[in-house]
Symmetry: C2
């Protein structure tokens, strides 16, 4: 694929912070559809919705997740395909998937106007998700769309800089992050200038020179409050939009030529400057000063 030949230069981006009602699939699909229509009418070519936006999050157990799950060709994806086609927009959204083996997955879809749909199953499960969902076996994908090369990570996935880096190396220009991030208990200390989720989004945007489009949720659910950390970050690490409290729509106009240029200053390049030969050895196991013969020891 010749980047720059077929990829768009300017993309209208929207991140939607929703407040689903637990278990109200019909109502939640309607709220998502209304938000998609609003965003598309406001000019969005790419619309990112939260994790598990049709079901809610706080499943009691696997059986309850299965009760509300649907296959990848179920009603949520069908509706998003119709909306993507109708509005000519790419939709990224999380849903509770029942996979072909009947297992519940915390999944997200990239749905394109031509009907193409890529499903990703969350690979890093947070807390009780570990007892509710089966973790994905495939890495987060990068999908070529009319709104650019979209990388996908779901909530806690984005806590791993390796995930964001791998997506950027694979060509992602924008990383979409459907999110349902429970607020920390106790609340963050006053020293927390920004929510951790936004700090991590800004850092990933900066070191990879990509856009990050994060769509968190709102609305208390079964005792959980949310960080409400929806944000749009640009490749210079600017916080372009967000966060927002409650239900809200974040918008930005993305110049996709920017994430294609990984050059920093006059002589640096955020991907080419990596020295992978130095990371593996250190990451492979604990080292002590005694095992570093080539560092000078002056005694």
């Amino acid at each position: 694929l010749a980047i720059g030949d077929t990829s768009p230069a300017i993309v209208g981006l929207a991140c939607v912070q929703l407040a689903p009602e637990f278990g109200d699939l019909t109502g939640n699909r309607g709220r998502a559809a209304a938000a998609i229509r609003d965003a598309a009418r406001a000019g969005a070519d790419l619309i990112v919705l939260p994790e598990l936006c049709t079901t809610g999050y706080a499943f009691a157990d696997r059986a309850e997740a299965l009760q509300y799950s649907e296959p990848a060709d179920g009603p949520s994806i069908r509706e998003w395909r119709a909306l993507a086609s109708e509005h000519g927009a790419v939709i990224v959204a999380g849903f509770c998937e029942r996979d072909p083996d009947g297992a519940p997955r915390n999944s997200a879809a990239v749905v394109q106007p031509d009907g193409a749909c890529t499903i990703y199953r969350k690979t890093h499960l947070w807390d009780r998700e570990q007892t509710t969902f089966v973790a994905g076996l495939e890495p987060p994908p990068v999908v070529d769309t009319a709104a650019g090369r979209i990388g996908l990570a779901i909530c806690y996935d984005a806590f791993f800089p390796e995930v964001m880096r791998a997506l950027a190396v694979a060509g992602a220009e924008l990383i979409a992050v459907p999110m349902n991030s429970p607020a920390p208990i106790p609340a963050p200390p006053p020293s927390a200038v920004l929510a951790s989720e936004i700090v991590l989004a800004l850092a990933a945007a900066t070191v990879n020179r990509v856009y990050v489009a994060q769509a968190d949720r709102s609305g208390p659910e079964r005792g959980i409050e949310w960080s409400q950390a929806s944000a749009i970050c640009d490749p210079d690490g600017g916080l372009v939009a967000g966060p927002v409290s409650g239900v809200g729509l974040l918008r930005a106009t993305c110049d996709m030529r920017r994430p294609r240029d990984k050059v920093l200053g006059m002589r640096n390049h955020v991907l080419a400057d990596r020295r992978a030969e130095l990371y593996g050895a250190a990451a492979a196991g604990a080292r002590t000063p005694d095992s570093q013969p080539t560092n000078e020891m002056v005694n």
Copy 2:
């Protein structure tokens, strides 16, 4: 090494933001020594100084760097060893090293009260450093000290989340980051809530559950202004101290039991939750949707 048996629980930490005068080695050593004494008197067990704190930064070329360079057993290290011994404190500081082959290195030292000294040579060179210095071949080290297990990265090294992760995996409880970070030109947009250097420090602290002790510099030099991004971040991603404008001393009391505990919430662990098998494949090269056979394609 049995972590927890011999490692300290509480460490007094100081990060010193200095304003060296370019080329004034004697004056700069004196300023560094005075700051070390102040920090030690204020209770610091670990004192972090900026990158290249005895020479200044903006060398015209390799010859000028060599002119101001010194070997790893030169006067700067000798003075820091004497101060470390006198005050019972660990000193981390950057200096312009002339290596045994006569090449200039952008180096930092971890100097301990018993005289042990570990030298690290910066491996990710920023901008004109590429024409001035020879890059290090050895990974950033982790050094066991009476002030905890100290990881070391110099300025642009910390732009690579791989570096910070590798140090954490190698057992670093605190990552010291001597820094000379030229301020961005043009100035950061109003959307920049925090300097990028501080965002990256907070993110590294959060995802690795380590302390990050960053010591930047101040004082214009040969047309360069500085980000002045000195900061102390804790393992929950709190900004404990900094930034500061001009010359300043940041202090914190570090509970080193915190970075030894990598557990998040009830069921998560920031290192054990990594799924390394998913990162290499994606990072190895560009992927397209067509090469992801196991992601569902619904058409």
